[in-house]
């Protein structure tokens, strides 16, 4: 059980002078699944990128804290796992090499058992030494889950996690979400009803668009 | 061309005139630029009114 908490204070974002969302406030503690829904182009991906610290908000701030201490931007990346269709892994390396380099750059211990367990779970163990270039899009998506979970993050951000997956893959994703949400925070940005069923809390971006 | 050069060389005050002229041209170019920008703004404002 972790003591991770995520808090958004008066978050707003505009692209140039176009408003994406405004006065967004929420708070999650310890664990649970929070869904983010909204039409295409409503800023779901922008919001999850801001939460992950990749984009900066135009106003307000996101506070990540662990055990009551705020996490600085320099260290944030090691607490976060991120999956999205627009994430690309290094195609010239094999799955195993990718994960190996990621662990080294992150400076976390490369946990052989855990990686093998995850590879088995996502049915990639037989192909772990093939170059990522040779993978199908569904396999790449599954590899991204391993990338997101390998360092046991306390905040897992999933942007349209079930895209490119067959029904078996979707089921295993749902299982993972259920499992992980017991010990960490999961943020799920999606439009699919099935995905949003899992959420204990839902954030509708339409509610944060008015200019008043 | 050679005559012009010699004339300017002897009557250096005209060089000063040319230089002042160049400076004013530059300032004018900037004014034209702003003028263009403001005209665009004006057009957009009027366009909005027509739509309403």
């Amino acid at each position: 059980m972790s003591n991770y908490s995520l808090k958004a204070v008066d978050l707003s974002k505009n692209f140039g002078r176009r408003l994406i969302f405004k006065n967004l406030n929420f708070e999650i503690e310890n664990c649970g699944v929070m869904g983010i829904s909204g039409a295409n182009g409503s800023g779901k991906s922008t919001l999850v990128k801001i939460i992950a610290g990749i984009n900066s908000p135009s106003g307000g701030k996101i506070i990540h804290s662990s055990d009551g201490k705020e996490i600085t931007y320099e260290k944030l990346h090691n607490y976060i796992g991120f999956v999205s269709p627009y994430l690309v892994l290094y195609e010239e390396f094999s799955a195993w090499e990718n994960l190996d380099y990621f662990a080294k750059i992150r400076d976390v211990k490369f946990n052989n058992d855990k990686i093998e367990y995850l590879l088995n779970k996502f049915l990639l163990f037989d192909r772990k030494d093939d170059l990522v270039k040779t993978y199908s899009s569904g396999m790449k998506q599954r590899l991204k889950f391993i990338f997101a979970l390998m360092h046991s993050p306390e905040l897992i951000i999933l942007d349209e996690p079930t895209s490119n997956l067959d029904s078996a893959g979707k089921d295993s994703v749902y299982k993972i979400i259920e499992e992980e949400s017991k010990s960490s925070i999961v943020i799920l940005a999606s439009n699919e009803e099935n995905d949003l069923m899992l959420c204990s809390k839902e954030l509708k971006l339409e509610n944060y668009k008015n200019n008043k | 061309m050679q005559d012009l050069y010699q004339f300017l060389d002897k009557n250096a005050i005209y060089i000063v005139m040319i230089i002042v002229l160049i400076v004013w041209t530059g300032i004018f170019l900037y004014l034209f630029n702003i003028d263009k920008r403001i005209k665009n703004v004006e057009k957009e404002m009027n366009g909005d009114k027509n739509e309403k």
Partner: protein, 221 residues
């Protein structure tokens, strides 16, 4: 911190070995540039100052074709988001800088050897001075090109923009480095070159701190 940057460098290094993103273009460029210069000189004797100028012309343009790759390749393949997720900006900057430094050193050592072999007037009389100025010049070149590569990777028209942006930034460095190479070829002592050495050293320090501080802004969208 340094181990992370080293890991990032190693990833870049092996990635480069597999994709040959920069190396092929670089090697071909060096060969083409030097042979064009040799053809245009023909049998004429050229002065030492011209040779040291041409030396840095080749280095400048080879750097143009190779160094921008560090960030542009990540951005083109869409992997910069992945980098975002696994490392802090300071790690990324240090790792990429290390990669560019190694690349610049390899490239310039090859150019220097080719020059010494092919040009009669390129005789280094004060070898120690040449090495010191060579190292300082390369550090400055790698630093300035790393931050500019980061800037253009986020902009459009990547290929054409790089020389345009880096030339004014590198101009003071290159002018001084040409001067230093000339002094080394003429056999001047360290005392004669202390002014130029100080300039290049200051340039390196200022560029390093400046780009290190500004990289956060470039990297974070």
């Amino acid at each position: 911190m340094s181990s992370k940057a080293y890991a990032l460098y190693k990833k870049d290094f092996y990635s480069e070995l597999r994709t040959r993103y920069a190396i092929n273009a670089l090697v071909m460029f060096i060969i083409v540039a030097i042979s064009v210069i040799l053809f245009s000189i023909g049998n004429e004797k050229i002065t030492q100052s011209l040779t040291s100028g041409l030396f840095w012309v080749v280095i400048f343009f080879s750097a143009m074709s190779g160094l921008a790759r560090a960030f542009v390749s990540e951005e083109e393949r869409g992997t910069s988001l992945t980098l975002h997720l696994i490392a802090a900006p300071s790690t990324i900057f240090s790792g990429k800088l290390l990669f560019n430094l190694i690349l610049v050193f390899c490239m310039n050592i090859i150019i220097a050897i080719l020059y010494a072999a092919l040009f009669d007037s390129f005789i280094i009389k004060n070898f120690a001075l040449f090495i010191v100025s060579f190292v300082l010049g390369n550090v400055g070149l790698a630093t300035a090109s790393t931050i500019i590569a980061a800037i253009i990777s986020k902009a459009g028209a990547k290929g054409t923009l790089y020389p345009v942006l880096s030339f004014p930034i590198l101009l003071p460095l290159i002018l001084t480095a040409v001067q230093l190479t000339l002094l080394a070829n003429q056999g001047a002592s360290f005392g004669d070159a202390k002014f130029e050495l100080a300039i290049v050293f200051c340039y390196d320090v200022i560029m390093l701190t400046g780009s290190y501080l500004l990289f956060d802004f470039v990297w974070k969208d």
